[in-house]
């Protein structure tokens, strides 16, 4: 069975399915919008969800576009090395759970910024965290837009640039009118549909191999080379592998919007159970992306995958078209698109919350009380700003694999929020200057290294080669940030006996 012909022309069936699905999600968002009156509801879906629903939303949010588009594409092109990305999700999520979920839940803080500001009792910290989180959120938004841009281009034949602009506009409307509850429900539905789309594609693909993994891998070796099953094709240097892994792990263990999600359930037991469901689902999703990647290498062929997008992001949709026909392609494209959209809305809402709560409330309006109404207005302004900037930058990163881009942004998160949050919760001696300098060090280091890397220097600026030969800064910036946090804290040791956060967390104090 070879790939379908003319898969990249706009196709009526596919487009019909596509719009049908979008209409459904819009209806849900509109329903949710009518119920979003308070800030808390806007930000945390009113804690009304069950464990199952929450777990599904978590899993969906977590895997999103980087998973099915990016990782599947990466594995279809480079094989084994892509597993470093797959396993990052399988390890990073438990790490998040073990380290941060309980303390933050007990502190009752909705965002990393709140948690840190509470532990360190400083509005400066809050503002710095806000800055770092905003950078991270913006970068991740770009990743999602690259993915969505490719999907729209595949489906509608628009130019990449136009596709990204269209998506930017859509996501802005979703975020403005839906709030978190809408995003949550969209997430759940999308997660279920994504599971269905992937499952159907996998079953159809595996039937091509008589449901035998041995046959699958044999054919992968035959068609794409035995090197696909061994390390070596995906990373230019050995150190980059470790850097990528470290960045992915520390970054994933710290995603602000996922952390926010942990709080949208009524109590601890339910929260933990939803975590279990999410972990299992993420594991299943992740394994699926890998299998789909290998299958795509055989069924679609690396040539066709690269032709649709050099970064490989279209492997999954092309595979679905090859095994399921154009109607199925429409379904899969719509689901992928909704996946990205919901993740993007979650990001934008988190970003606007950060701007409203942390910048405005923490830095500009320091001691004054900010009215809820003002916060909501500000959140919406921030939403517009974020969408515009992200769209412009999303256009610039055409042709990159979204999983690769995703882990770059994780490197930034892992270098900024992670070290400080970790130390704030588990180390008694973290001081405010330590945290501030530490976070800024991580931010500046990771961004500078990114700028000097081949990604920006060669791919974006068209120089001959990067100034450093490391595409992921994690290996350097994360330890550096830890060091800065610790060193400056030790030097500015003023307060002794500050009860550190973990002990405080057991008191469920209501200082806010």
């Amino acid at each position: 069975m070879s790939g379908t012909a003319a898969v990249d022309l706009p196709n009526a069936t596919a487009i019909t399915f596509f719009f049908l699905f979008i209409a459904i999600t819009l209806a849900i968002t509109w329903w949710a919008a009518r119920r979003t009156k308070t800030t808390e509801e806007y930000f945390a879906a009113g804690r009304r969800l069950t464990a199952w629903q929450n777990g599904l939303a978590l899993a969906g949010d977590f895997t999103a576009a980087a998973g099915f588009l990016g990782i599947t594409g990466l594995i279809s092109l480079v094989g084994f090395d892509g597993l470093v990305y797959v396993l990052a999700a399988l390890a990073g999520w438990p790490l998040l759970l073990f380290l941060f979920a309980e303390p933050l839940r007990k502190l009752g803080k909705y965002t990393v910024a709140d948690a840190l500001a509470h532990c360190l009792n400083s509005t400066t910290v809050r503002a710095i965290v806000g800055l770092c989180s905003l950078v991270y959120i913006l970068l991740f938004l770009i990743v999602q837009l690259v993915g969505a841009g490719n999907v729209i281009r595949l489906m509608f034949g628009l130019s990449y640039r136009d596709a990204v602009i269209v998506i930017g506009a859509i996501m802005m409307c979703y975020a403005l009118f839906g709030g978190m509850l809408g995003a949550t429900w969209v997430q759940i539905i999308k997660a279920v549909l994504m599971l269905i789309a992937a499952a159907v594609t996998i079953i159809l693909s595996l039937s091509y191999f008589d449901f035998s993994f041995v046959t699958l891998f044999e054919q992968v070796s035959a068609k794409a080379g035995a090197a696909m099953l061994a390390p070596g094709k995906g990373f230019p240097t050995s150190w980059e592998v470790v850097s990528t892994a470290l960045a992915a792990l520390c970054g994933l263990a710290n995603q602000p919007h996922v952390l926010m999600r942990v709080f949208t359930v009524p109590d601890a037991r339910t929260a933990r159970r939803s975590v279990f469901y999410a972990t299992t689902l993420i594991a299943i999703f992740s394994v699926m992306t890998a299998v789909l990647g290998f299958a795509a290498a055989v069924i679609v062929g690396q040539g066709a995958i690269r032709a649709a997008d050099p970064g490989g992001n279209m492997a999954f949709p092309l595979l679905s078209a090859a095994v399921g026909g154009t109607a199925f392609l429409g379904f899969v494209a719509a689901v992928s698109f909704a996946t990205i959209l919901a993740a993007v809305v979650g990001l934008v809402i988190n970003g606007s919350a950060t701007l409203a709560h942390d910048f405005w409330g923490g830095l500009i309006r320091r001691k004054q009380v900010v009215s809820a109404r003002e916060q909501l207005i500000l959140a919406r302004v921030a939403t517009v700003l974020l969408c515009v900037v992200a769209t412009i930058l999303g256009i610039a990163f055409q042709g990159q694999n979204v999983a690769f881009l995703g882990v770059l942004t994780l490197a930034v998160a892992g270098s900024t929020n992670f070290p400080t949050l970790f130390l704030a919760i588990f180390w008694r001696r973290l001081t405010v200057p330590g945290a501030v300098v530490g976070m800024l060090t991580g931010l500046i280091a990771s961004l500078t290294l990114l700028y000097l890397s081949p990604l920006v220097q060669v791919d974006l600026l068209h120089n001959a080669h990067g100034m450093i030969n490391l595409r992921n800064p994690g290996l350097i910036s994360i330890p550096l940030a830890f060091f800065a946090n610790i060193a400056v804290s030790l030097v500015t040791r003023k307060e002794s006996g500050r009860p550190f956060a973990y002990a405080e967390a057991t008191q469920a104090s209501t200082r806010q």
Binding site: L95, V214, G232, V275, T279, A283, P499
Partner: protein, 94 residues
């Protein structure tokens, strides 16, 4: 919830920790060990992928490579640890 034990002690010797505090300390220790285990397993895998390419590329049998088996291990263990944690932790909640 009585947690004055460690908190109330200023410069003096700490009083005996309450049951809640003991439980939280144990929970924290378990969490840290679990986190450490997961981190070591995954980063260890990455180090192998970066620096032991030959080893991971070795074939076991006709098709599968050493790397695929190790990858499978790295995939499953964190999930198992999560299951353990959820069960243990819910059972230990008051």
């Amino acid at each position: 919830m009585q947690t004055e034990g460690l908190q109330a002690s200023g410069a003096g010797a700490p009083m005996r920790p309450t049951l809640d505090e003991a439980r939280e300390t144990r929970r924290r220790r378990v969490c840290l060990w679990l986190a450490f285990a997961v981190a070591v397993i995954y980063i260890g895998f990455a180090v192998l992928v970066g620096f032991a390419k030959g080893l991971l590329g070795e074939r076991i049998g006709q098709t599968f490579t050493v790397g695929l088996y190790i990858g499978g291990f790295v995939a499953v263990v964190p999930w198992l640890l999560t299951v353990f944690y959820v069960v243990w932790s819910n059972r230990n909640d008051r």
